[in-house]
Assembly symmetry: C2
Homo-oligomer: 127 residues x 2
DNA sequence: CTTTTTGCAAACCCTTTGCAAGACA
DNA sequence: TGTCTTGCAAAGGGTTTGCAAAAAG
């Protein structure tokens, strides 16, 4: 069990994510909060987003070849990255069946998890 | 239709991938061929691997938060990245059902493709 | 002779790190 | 007080880019 302290910065970072519409990257969170809180450093933002995600307060979304982003909506859902503007969007594909696999693959690998990433074109960039 | 020329470098890069066991990253391909071909530059390797993948000669495997890698085996199969040594392994999970989705999601996004990435621990690192 | 490709080095993006100073419990 | 956490700046990994020179067709 890891003991963590409550810091002002941590709370501000969480609140900032909660108040951002979509799927901000760590840098976007930093850019947003630094106006009100110019003394918070980028490293602190990265560290705390990671920690908040580990605690389940927010979702950490891995973006292939792009900046990872974070989501206050922790209900499992899927994301698409626009190939043009590179932004991340929620998509509404429903009930993707869980992939079934043996925990130990016949290659000898232990498989712990998987992620699915969609790519496409967002409504804006279709115009 | 893109017109491409045949270059010595391109052929050497392809042959190098063909002769490497597993799933070399661009850098690993570069490191390997530079002994025999010290004049080929890293940028040329990156550019050509990309191009060869676009042409379907090799597979480009996207690795979340790691160096992408390439595979001479162009038959569709799945990969796992070891959380410890970070190497990429083929896994033998069979027949993952294709995810069904509408080309146009109800969010308005056009969905073009998706990738699935597995994570776990490789046989070596289990010891 | 035109256009693609190369090699080089620098730039780039995103993220992590070491460390001393500061804050929390 | 002990140890977590911060801010800073620098380093890191992987990849792309601009450009002039070289090669392909």
């Amino acid at each position: 069990m890891i003991i963590t302290r409550n810091t002002v910065q941590r709370e501000i970072i969480l609140q900032t994510v909660m108040n951002m519409d979509s799927h901000p990257s760590a840098d976007e969170v930093y850019e947003k909060l630094k106006y009100e809180n110019p003394s918070i450093s980028r490293a602190t933002v990265y560290r705390n987003l990671e920690l908040l995600a580990k605690r389940g307060k927010i979702l950490h979304i891995e973006i292939p070849k792009g900046a990872d982003c974070f989501d206050f909506n922790t209900i499992e859902h899927h994301h698409m990255r626009c190939d043009i503007c590179r932004k991340v969007y929620d998509i509404n594909i429903l009930k993707i069946p869980k992939i079934k696999y043996d925990k130990i693959d016949s290659s000898g690998c232990i498989i712990n998890e998987y992620t699915i990433s969609f790519k496409g074109i967002c409504p804006n960039c279709q115009k």
